[in-house]
Amino acid sequence: MTGAALTPGLTPATEAPRAFALPIQVVEANGITAWLVEDHAVPVVSLAWSWRGGAALDPQGEEGAAAMAAALLTEGAGPLRADAFADALRDEAISLSFGADRDNFEGGFRALADALPEAVRLARLAMTAPRLDEDAVERVRARAVASARRALETPRGQAGRGFWARAYPEHPAGRPSSGTAESLTALPAAAIRGAIGRQMRREGLLVCAAGAIGPEALRALIGEVFAGLPEGAPPAPAALPGFRGFGQQVIPVASPQSAVVFGQEGLPAEDPDWEATQVMLRILAGGGFASRLMHAVREQRGLAYGIGAGLDVMFRRGVIVGSVATENARVAETLSVTRDEWRRMAEQGPTDAEREDAVAYLTGSLPLQFADSRRVADSLLTLRQNGRPVDWLAGRAARLRALSTADLTRAAGRVLRADGLSVVVAGQPVGL
């Protein structure tokens, strides 16, 4: 399909790309294991770290406690009130921030090498001596409530909320990780302190670094940033139950266009078919213009600006989730085309040419994903959150090339459920 259709002048390059290598050093300090990609080309250092937990540790009724805690860590710490803390960061262009997603609590900064001592001081203060001044709590609360309310102003926001609530009705994964307007309004300051106490621990910590720093300096840095944390590890979050299929649901929203979120159960990160599933899903739904869904929905029928689906990973499990938005009158057709493509892939798998194209992209694009220090540190952290060994990336291209079309077809047959696709439509769809 590609290549052959081109004139000789446009034949794809035959020269092999230079081999991609991302040397990862493993650095031990203070009982913490860090992964490091050292690169002195630009005087910038990025550090990323996380613990399991995040919103999954918020008690019932205290949804948003971890997210509020994350926001408040940089709103004043130690001797610095919120405005002084913000100035200290911005005077040196340090981008220190924390966040609580569904299953992790993350922290990270990027700083120029010159500003590294200040970044370290502020990161340590934020984690060990957050002030939680009352005025800061109320400011952050007002901001969080406003943003929770705004998130529901669009069909897309409504559809996303509805999808997760139905798929995981009895687990924190089904709740909005940053809380609801109601839970945030009622959240006592003690709940925020509770979230910090549960999460800010010396154990269970994953640390990754990238940029202009060597292993010795990183060892010292880790000591300074994390040594002041209390002993122990955060509690384990409740295990993720299976995806609860719910068929097709409509949330009425006055809008000329419906937002659709669709998905189904996926597979655990350690499943032997994980990478086969990644490649198969790229062919079906994840490859921009290269995917079957994009071709069928946008290119052939002009039904939508874009459509895509892929593995949304949490609790070391990939859930298959996709989205599309289309005029109310064309929702039924869009869903029908999507289900047909889903079924065709489940029953027949991909072609050899599709597999070759997808593998060529996934192996060839590796260098593009590691071009800035923040992405390097964040990507390493994701690998570790999913329990990957340190040589996982180095072996990825060879593993992908070793996959056969039969491997992808088997994975498609195992994983995809055209009739079990759960769908939320927010809008005023016609004929559903």
Partner: protein, 475 residues
């Protein structure tokens, strides 16, 4: 979120705000290595940030090259000095629609193949249309540069615009409009607000994606005309960055782009704004809205229009007035409990007139009129007493502190270089921007504040939940 300048956005997220993409698309004990002297010089604005070189081909195409060997990757960007500001009258959305059609094949590349070939080679490709520029770009492993240059040059010289692809693609564009604007109450309001300030048919007041009826009215001939008038070598900037050598880029540019025939260019016509806003006050109630929003925008000079010297001063002003914590608006509106957020924004890197914008969200229970009066008070005090030396120094420090971060990644250099040059600004504006910002003086900031906030045509807008009382106009 404050609307940030292109430079800030690019350095932090490698994204260009206010532009539409083709596809949706996201006390150290042992001192670390200290920046080399040349890095300090870049930070200070004494040395060029990217060290780009530039030359012009005989057909008029300007080429910019900035080498970086950090990763074996190159960025290849072709910018055209034409954006939605060049849409013909009654045909808003033409520049953006045409951008979509550039993916429908060219003489030697079948429809849709460019993206597939790039993907097969492990690369990424996309395009975007802003008010000032349209850009097509690929990021690929370094050895694939000739391939993407060949394909881009091919569609530069002769896009097919197949007649049978125009209608399906119009449907895609209309869905894009519904997704971005029509199904988002804040986007709907923003669009109406810009039209209220500049006028719905002024080049600055029309949406980049176009008014729905005008997207429906665009013909294939309109698209061909747009190409004929704007897509000429002398109206384009080719930017190559990353792991390549200058001699090789010179050779490839000449070989692959040198054959695109030279053509006459229709110059931009960025008419001056009207002396009055189309509507001075815009109140919208929207049933989908749950949180009220306040906007005020004043017409302002840019680096290419009006008193150009004021552009850098206005950037400093926006930081000290509403650039987050520590700014006057944050202290007077957020810290006092009147607002959940309050910001000022200004982007001087624009072709023609631009806007200086204030925005705020009242806290629940705070009457919109009370918040608006508090905004007025902040502005009045600033105009009366002027900013302080300490405020300006802090703004200059904080805006420039992260300049070097643009080197940490592969997207910032080509976007900053290409958009500035295609907007008619000299290379020096990008390479030495911290120096310009640091040279701003206190009297310049005070004068720029008076000129823009103290009398320039402006529109005030409120987006309100259904049924909320209309804030009284200030007397």
């Amino acid at each position: 979120m404050p609307r940030v300048t292109r430079r800030t956005a690019i350095a932090s997220a490698a994204a260009l705000p206010a532009a539409l993409s083709l596809t949706p698309g996201s006390g150290l004990a042992a001192p670390a290595v200290q920046p080399a002297p040349e890095d300090r010089a870049k930070l200070a604005g004494d040395r060029p940030l990217f060290g780009a070189v530039t030359w012009t081909l005989p057909n008029g195409l300007r080429v910019v090259f900035a080498e970086s060997r950090r990763v074996p990757v190159v960025g290849h960007y072709l910018f055209y000095a034409a954006g939605s500001g060049e849409d013909p009258g009654g045909r808003s959305g033409a520049a953006h629609f045409f951008e979509h059609m550039m993916f429908k094949g060219s003489r030697n590349v079948p429809p849709g193949q460019l993206s597939l070939v790039v993907a097969r080679e492990g690369g990424q490709d996309n395009a975007f249309t802003s008010r000032d520029v349209t850009a097509y770009h690929q990021t690929v492993e370094a050895s694939r540069l000739p391939l993407v240059m060949r394909m881009e040059a091919d569609r530069f010289a002769g896009p097919l615009i197949p007649p049978d692809t125009v209608e399906p693609e119009r449907q895609v564009v209309l869905e894009e409009r519904r997704q971005r604007t029509d199904s988002n109450p804040r986007a709907r309001f923003w669009e109406a607000f810009e039209a209220a300030l500049w006028g719905p048919q002024h080049w600055r007041g029309r949406p980049i994606i176009g008014w729905e009826e005008e997207i429906r009215a665009i013909t294939r001939q309109d698209l061909l005309d747009f190409y004929a008038q704007r897509y000429a070598p002398a109206n384009a900037i080719l930017v190559v960055t990353g792991d390549a050598r200058e001699a090789e880029v010179r050779r490839l540019a000449e070989e692959l782009y040198g054959g695109v025939p030279s053509r006459a260019v229709t110059p931009r016509d960025r008419g001056a704004p009207a002396p009055q806003p189309a509507e001075a006050r815009l109140i919208r109630h929207d049933p989908a809205v749950r949180e009220a929003s306040f906007l005020r925008a004043a017409m302002a000079p840019s680096l290419t229009f009006g008193d150009r010297q004021q552009a850098w001063a206005l950037e400093a002003l926006s930081h000290l007035l509403g650039g987050g914590q520590g700014s006057r608006m944050h202290k007077a509106l957020v810290e006092t409990g009147l607002a959940t957020s309050a910001n000022a924004s200004y982007d001087g890197e624009a072709v023609g007139a631009t806007a200086f914008t204030l925005s705020a969200t009242p806290r629940p229970g705070v009457e919109p009129a009370r918040l608006e009066a508090a905004v007025d008070a902040v502005v009045d005090r600033l105009l009366q007493d002027g900013p302080t030396e300490a405020e300006l120094a802090r703004a200059q420090r904080q805006i420039t502190a992260g300049a070097l971060l643009a080197l940490d990644g592969i997207g910032a250099a080509p976007r900053m270089l290409g958009s500035a040059l295609a907007s008619g600004l000299p290379l020096e504006t990008v390479e030495f921007w911290p120096r310009h910002l640091r040279a701003v003086t206190l009297p310049q900031v005070a004068a720029a504040a008076r000129a823009v906030l103290g009398g320039a045509p402006a529109t005030t807008g409120w987006l309100l939940p259904e049924g909320a009382p209309v804030p009284e106009r200030r007397t």
